[in-house]
């Protein structure tokens, strides 16, 4: 029963946060962007905070590695969205480089966690 109550509370909290993101006034930092892109950036920030929660709470090291992998992917999306309203095209370069180094880092980390050598 208490499990049901906590489930409903979590659902309500998530819906409240999404509603706040969709309805709140746009912060002055993003004022130059179009409203759609500003809200998209705020949505990606919310997802990043959920990943940070998993990095804080994760019981094992692999949970944290998974969350870091996902955070890198989210940052690639963030950079590509950010290149639209600002007009600075080099943000997508940051995304490409971030994807590359995230892949290499995660591969090395998983080899290390599995107790293998790097050339295996």
């Amino acid at each position: 029963m208490s499990r049901n109550i906590s489930y409903i509370l979590g659902l309500l909290a998530t819906a409240a946060v999404v509603a706040v993101i969709l309805l709140c006034p746009i912060p002055s930092m993003l004022r130059a962007a179009s409203p759609f892109l500003a809200r998209a950036l705020m949505f990606l920030l919310l997802c990043s905070f959920l990943c940070l929660y998993r990095i804080l709470r994760g019981p094992t090291a692999v949970d944290r590695a998974v969350a870091i992998d996902m955070l890198g992917i989210l940052i690639v999306g963030f950079c590509s969205v950010l290149s639209l309203p600002t007009g600075r095209d080099w943000y997508i370069d940051i995304g490409i480089v971030w994807a590359l180094q995230s892949f290499i880092g995660i591969m090395a980390l998983s080899k290390y966690l599995g107790g293998q050598d790097f050339d295996e």
């Binding site: 990943c51 996902m70 490409i96």
Partner: protein
């Protein structure tokens, strides 16, 4: 017209990113979380990058977005797979409700 399709793709990508993050919070063990994370890559960020390509067209930025999409779609399953393997080898147990564990049976042969 292209911009509207791009906007729709970006919305789909944002929704999948959000659902993947909720799955990262809610699933009970490492392997379920890995599954949610892989979904988030394939439809989430790739949708956003495809939307960016539709916004920009065949300019250098659009081509870079396509290249980034190709790279991500090639590498994300590889990294997820090797993370699952590393997790299994480092001794992380699957969830107690798991029905079948084929990897242990294969390794036992």
């Amino acid at each position: 017209m292209n911009e509207h399709i791009g906007m729709a793709l970006i919305v789909v990508g944002l929704a999948f990113d959000f659902f993947g993050c909720v799955g990262l919070i809610r699933f009970p063990d490492v392997y379920g979380r890995l599954q949610a994370a892989a979904k988030c890559v394939t439809l989430g960020t790739c949708g956003i990058l495809l939307g960016l390509f539709l916004f920009k067209g065949f300019t250098p930025t659009g081509i870079k977005a396509l290249l980034c999409l190709l790279f991500i779609i090639l590498t994300a399953p590889v990294s997820a797979h090797s993370l699952a393997r590393g997790a299994y080898r480092s001794g992380v147990k699957p969830w107690s409700g798991t029905v079948k564990d084929e990897y242990t049976e294969k390794m036992g042969e």
